[in-house]
């Protein structure tokens, strides 16, 4: 390439070949206008491993069989894999045993496919006026309806994994949040009193007297949007009530303790542990919540800064739409901010991850020991009534371990907080063992 070409490129890149609208889900069409972004997007099919991450969908239960014990009685104990690129999100859900052995609701699709037209159609069918003015209402209504559908039925309404339209306004190409569960949750979070120094637009809305409702799409800064589009899906969730309404539990805040408080208050459990009878919470990919506790978020560094860094293509800089582990792309992802060489930066990440992993193993062992002791107590005839306290400790401990384990950066997103949480997990698990032991002794 030469200078002429690059000066040309610099001029051309806004030219639109085809029209895209709210109803254009197929990324191929968008790709005609933005071939560079589309090329990156397509590369999310690639497979490459890092030490603790990467895009090779190995079986986590074979990798560390303790987790079969920990998830006893739940679908995760049967099939749980390393996540991979966005291209696979819909098909990986289809082939998961977790979909096959349990009757799942349509809510699952919210984060595994491009759902907007499906939501809209369902909303219109349910009686919301079909005009543009009622767009958002159609979507929110359709979301409710599809959440409650059986998975197989809902599955027929969608056909693409996350697509351009899910993160971009088709007219302006600006980032936007489209996911109903996220729109609800971020509003709830804003109205709470949980401090969010890393989210300036919420702090500002609160300081200005909390007028009206916090609206992420009109109030958030561009830099915040570079994380919010990811926070649409990379979050802890549960299905609320009979309607299986997908909900992010941020009413009291986003920390591990606040979420637990919320679940305790509403009396939620994901399942009853088969060996211990404890009412267990399953944590799921709380990347957004964990990032929120870290120094990068606090310094205004967004998900996209690391996972979709700018890269130069000829004369222009574009966002790398090959969303992946930053460790596969250290120079663009980290070196713009950190002037150390690649191997040094990798070593820093691995040091953090190894520390997390070592505490995590400790927590796993403690919890498996607790499960063992509790099972023994039950088998030796201690009535469930007396086991309540130990079961509550099992719930607390496992919630914390899983919160860190289900988060996909092995502690990197918030190193000290991850270690703190694991320290608590260990404490609760061992205290549970002490309880169980005391009961067993008393029973004899």
């Amino acid at each position: 390439k030469n200078v002429t070409q690059r000066k040309e490129e610099a001029k051309q890149h806004v030219f639109r070949v085809v029209e895209v609208t709210e109803d254009t889900i197929d990324p191929v069409t968008w790709g005609k206008n933005y071939p560079r972004q589309y090329d990156g997007y397509r590369r999310t099919v690639d497979t490459e491993r890092t030490r603790h991450g990467g895009s090779d969908a190995f079986n986590k239960l074979d990798d560390d069989p303790l987790w079969r014990e920990i998830f006893k009685g739940y679908a995760f104990g049967v099939d749980y894999r390393e996540d991979r690129g966005h291209a696979y999100m819909l098909s990986d859900q289809d082939i998961s045993e977790r979909i096959k052995i349990v009757k799942q609701p349509g809510a699952c699709l919210h984060c595994h496919s491009s759902t907007l037209p499906a939501y809209r159609e369902a909303g219109i069918k349910a009686g919301i006026p079909a005009d543009e003015a009622h767009r958002q209402e159609q979507i929110m209504k359709g979301f409710e309806i599809i959440c409650a559908m059986p998975y197989d039925e809902a599955r027929k309404l969608v056909s693409y994994p996350v697509s351009c339209v899910d993160c971009h306004d088709p007219e302006t190409m600006q980032l936007r949040a489209t996911r109903p569960a996220f729109l609800n949750a971020i509003r709830t979070l804003a109205s709470s009193d949980y401090p969010v120094p890393h989210l300036p637009s919420i702090e500002r809305w609160r300081k200005d007297g909390r007028k009206g409702e916090y609206d992420v799409n009109t109030m958030a800064t561009r830099q915040e949007m570079r994380s919010f589009v990811c926070g649409q899906c990379h979050v802890e969730y549960y299905f609320k009530g009979e309607g299986k309404l997908l909900t992010y539990p941020w009413n009291k805040g986003m920390g591990v303790d606040q979420i637990e408080d919320y679940y305790d208050e509403v009396g939620f459990k994901d399942w009853t542990h088969k060996s211990t009878g404890a009412q267990i919470l399953k944590a799921q990919h709380p990347e957004f919540e964990t990032w929120s506790q870290g120094i990068h978020a606090r310094s205004g560094v967004a998900c996209a800064d690391c996972h979709m860094p700018y890269k130069r293509e000829g004369a222009i800089k574009i966002s790398d739409h090959h969303v992946r582990s930053p460790l596969l792309n250290i120079s663009n992802a980290c070196q713009t901010c950190h002037h150390f060489n690649e191997s040094e930066l990798k070593a820093r990440v691995e040091l953090i991850q190894n520390r997390t992993r070592s505490l995590m193993i400790r927590a796993e062992e403690a919890i498996v020991a607790l499960i063992h002791d509790l099972r023994h107590s039950r088998e030796s005839g201690v009535p469930d009534e007396q086991l309540k306290e130990a079961q509550a400790l099992h719930r607390k401990a496992q919630w914390r371990l899983d919160f860190v384990a289900a988060e996909n950066a092995m502690g990197f997103h918030a190193p000290q907080e991850a270690a703190r949480i694991l320290g608590e997990a260990i404490d609760y698990a061992r205290q549970g063992q002490l309880q169980a032991l005391k009961l067993k002794t008393a029973a004899h």
Binding site: K1, N2, V3, T4, R6, A10, S299, G300, V301, K311, R312, A315, S331, N332, Q335, T336, C337, H339
Partner: protein, 154 residues
């Protein structure tokens, strides 16, 4: 064998010729002559320097120092030598697009930079020996003040 060598030489000459041609073209097209001036616009002719240029306009030294004040030696001969050397590497890099990004300052250029800090701040720093160029003894200004030229990278 002899003819093999010959054709290789011819090939090599062609390469060098084309390369020089390309560089001259770059030099001309990217307003290379302005490289020899002191105007920061000379640097930003090359869009690759855009970030630093934008940063410099907002940074603390905007009013007091230009790119060359920090990046080019103040003595006459080294000044033009450095300009030529950097000019060559930058043109080569720009033409062949074979440099690593993000761009990082070269060690030799970092020493020049430190000397330039002292050109202006020498007296202020006089109580503190600074040893530019001495690996073991240097007190590296950039260790603490990396933002003075073009503001924070983040």
């Amino acid at each position: 064998m002899l003819s093999g060598l010959n054709s290789f030489t011819v090939f090599l000459c062609c390469c060098i010729g084309i390369f020089i041609g390309l560089c001259s073209y770059t030099f001309y097209y990217a307003n290379g002559a302005s490289y020899l001036s002191n105007d920061p616009k000379a640097c930003v002719n090359c869009h690759i320097m855009r970030e630093q240029y934008d940063g410099w306009q907002k940074a603390s030294h905007h009013a007091v120092a230009t790119c060359n004040d920090c990046h080019i030696p103040h003595e006459l001969v080294p000044k033009y030598f450095t300009k030529l050397k950097n000019g060559f590497w930058h043109s080569k890099g720009f033409t062949l697009q074979d440099f690593d990004e993000p761009i990082r300052i070269q060690p030799e250029n970092r020493i020049i930079l430190q000397k330039n800090c002292l050109y202006c701040h020498g007296e202020f720093m006089s109580l503190i020996a600074t040893h530019p160029g001495n690996d073991r003894q240097i007190l590296d200004c950039i260790h603490c003040h990396s933002n003075v030229g073009h503001g924070p990278a983040r």
